[in-house]
């Protein structure tokens, strides 16, 4: 329906993508320490380090390196990981779905938690129910992710044995089961953010005249809630979710570490610490495209949900 709009937005991603490409290329090379040092460790002699750098093409002048990088990129080649010695593309294709699964799962859990609770808090605003909901999420928002993760793991995983401790699982069901706790961790965090905003959005919707009008029309409370309140509250949820999902993808690092999930977050950290230039570059570019696409999708979804939006 909005083909031209989508095209335009996709075109807009290109300059951003180029800028990201250049930026990350320079940034990784600005980092002190080089891949050879990082992979060879303390013991390597100078000759070995130099030889390794030569093999990796890192002895070339920067512009040449960049041109090679750009040329390979155009042919869809992100290069090979320096430490893992496999194509970066393959690593990303292997790991990204895990992170995406986790992110979407977390977003779903987050919304499933936030939306009803935000509605409840809004409907019962300024009562103890409201207070408890806001309080609990406030606490969730004030604690570091790894702490929450560990507590969930200890309680629901180790103590009660309801969920496996870490891992990714096999098949869709397995993923759902294994990733529940990490998704819950991230979801709680997201929900905490969502509840705050959604509650006021719902309060606003609840006091909107069209809700009053719906009541005056004699609609059932359930219909009012689902058709009138939720549909409108969903609009702000989507926007908020879009803004947060980028952070969610990027913020999965700690969760992935704690829960031993082989996603891109962990890969990224290892790559940065290991100065694995091609991996950092590849992941950064993927991330940039992904986040841009998420934003685009959010906007499209927003437009779908809210007929008033004009995409331009």
């Amino acid at each position: 329906m909005h083909t031209t709009y989508v095209l335009k937005r996709l075109l807009q991603i290109i300059p951003t993508f180029l800028a990201v490409m250049l930026l990350v290329f320079l940034l990784v090379r600005l980092l002190p320490g080089d891949p050879a040092s990082a992979i060879l460790g303390d013991r390597a002699t100078t000759e070995i380090v130099e030889r390794t750098n030569r093999e990796l093409g890192l002895d070339q002048p920067l512009p040449v390196q960049f041109l090679i990088f750009a040329r390979n990129l155009l042919s869809g080649d992100l290069g090979d990981s320096i430490s893992l010695k496999v194509p970066v593309m393959r690593l990303i294709l292997e790991r990204l779905p895990v992170t995406l699964f986790l992110t979407v799962y977390a977003a779903v859990l987050g919304v499933l938690m936030a939306l009803p609770l935000a509605v409840l808090a809004a409907v019962r605003r300024n009562t103890w129910i409201d207070g408890v909901i806001r309080g609990v999420f406030q606490v969730g928002l004030s604690l570091p992710v790894f702490y929450v993760a560990l507590q969930l793991l200890t309680l629901l995983g180790a103590r009660l044995g309801w969920f496996p401790i870490g891992g990714y699982g096999e098949g869709f069901g397995g993923h759902l089961y294994h990733l529940f706790l990490p998704a819950l961790t991230l979801g709680l965090n997201l929900a905490a953010v969502l509840v705050r905003t959604l509650r006021s959005a719902v309060i606003e919707v609840l006091t909107a005249e069209y809700v009053e009008f719906a009541r005056a029309k004699g609609m059932r409370p359930r219909v009012i809630l689902s058709r009138h309140v939720l549909r409108n509250a969903l609009i702000s949820t989507v926007t908020l979710l879009g803004l947060n999902i980028g952070a969610l993808i990027g913020g999965a690092v700690i969760t992935e570490t704690v829960f031993a999930i082989p996603g891109v977050g962990r890969l990224m950290v290892d790559a940065i610490f290991g100065r694995d230039y091609p991996v950092i570059q590849g992941l950064t570019l993927t991330f940039a495209v992904l986040v841009s696409l998420v934003f685009l999708m959010t906007d499209l979804l927003h437009a779908r949900l809210d007929p008033r939006t004009e995409l331009s």
Partner: protein, 348 residues
């Protein structure tokens, strides 16, 4: 098509004309899809003002009426240079003002002030009344610093507010009082012309009367020229010496108040007057005064803009835009009043 390009009749620019508007046109770009632009479709525009001619006489109150969206505010804002006109000219005391910049513009604005419609948003919610007035007086050095406080009290008295009002924030005032503050702010610059855009529309009738009285008094006292933009025909009739009726960005009729209200010429004016409910119960006519809705300003009908709703429209109305021509007691832009006869000289 442009049958009308002749110059304005000279008698219009009489000696006591203080503001002369001619051929004023103002458009706003409308959003357009990329595809449409790529296809080279002409950019759509909102035709807010089209070839507006109007003269304001010194000391008079000129009422401007018309339906929502007909360009009243745009006209007012263009006159105070909040908007830059696309074309046309505005002369103040004979001097062109559409291109003024910097200090000259500020000087012009000192003489031509505007009061805004919304008593709630036209005042900075974080500044006390005193601060508001102090700022205006200070920026324009209207008084030496020592006399500023005295002048503030004077202005407050002028608009009928107690002196303590200076220390209060806008939210502590009622709507009517806020409009007084807005008036005081404009008067601080001792302007010659006051443009009141829907000054009392947001107020209750009982309060409207207070503000209207104030306006009358001030005009008397300070010899102000007032452009009174309003919806409310009853008020306009009460206040104005002359009235201009606008429709879709054009002035369709200008006339003395008495003439306009007793013998409206333009079918639109007639309809408007008929639609306004009078205080006499049971005087409603059987048929609606004007049917249909205002056409979109993005797509103004050809010829006479009113022809789509006009009960008396005929062939010529669709092809030729009627010029604003003098008639007894005013001017009207309608082919029915063409001195050459309604059929004019136009291709059938």
């Amino acid at each position: 098509m442009s049958a009308r390009t002749e110059t304005r009749t000279p008698d219009r620019t009489t000696a006591d004309t203080v503001l002369e508007v001619s051929g004023l046109t103002k458009t706003f770009p409308a959003g357009q899809s990329l595809l449409a632009r790529l296809r080279g479709q002409p950019r759509k525009v909102v035709q807010a003002l089209t070839d507006v001619h109007l003269s304001v006489r010194r000391g008079e109150t000129l009422g401007i009426v018309g339906e929502s969206g007909c360009g009243k505010s745009t006209l007012a804002r263009t006159l105070v240079r909040l908007y830059d006109a696309d074309s046309g000219s505005v002369r103040y005391d004979g001097a062109e003002v559409t291109a003024l910049q910097g200090a000259a513009l500020r000087a012009y604005n000192r003489s031509v002030q505007m009061i805004f419609q919304d008593p709630y948003s036209s005042l900075n919610p974080r500044m006390t009344v005193g601060q508001v007035l102090r700022e205006v007086l200070g920026v324009h050095r209207m008084r030496p610093p020592g006399q500023i406080e005295a002048r503030i009290r004077e202005l407050l008295t002028l608009v009928g507010l107690p002196h303590e009002a200076a220390g209060r924030l806008p939210h502590e005032f009622s709507g009517g009082q806020r409009q007084r503050i807005g008036i005081a702010r404009a008067l601080a610059l001792e302007p010659e012309i006051l443009i009141a855009d829907e000054l009392v529309s947001a107020l209750d009738v009982s309060v409207q009367a207070q503000v209207v009285n104030l306006l009358l008094e001030l005009q008397e006292e300070l010899h102000l020229t007032v452009l009174f933009v309003a919806h409310d025909l009853r008020l306009v009739r009460h206040l104005s010496h002359r009235v201009a009726v606008m429709y879709l960005g054009r002035v369709v009729e200008v006339a003395d108040t008495a003439t306009l209200f007793t013998a409206p010429r333009h079918p639109y004016t007639q309809g408007l007057l008929a639609a306004a409910p009078t205080l006499e119960p049971g005087t409603r006519s059987a048929e609606p005064a004007i049917s249909g809705e205002l056409p979109s300003p993005l797509n103004v009908p050809s010829g006479c803009a009113f022809r789509t709703r006009c009960p008396q429209a005929f062939g010529r109305c669709a092809v030729e835009r009627p010029a604003l021509l003098p008639v007894q007691g005013g001017e009207v832009a309608c082919h029915l009043y063409d001195p050459q006869g309604p059929q004019g000289t136009v291709i059938p």
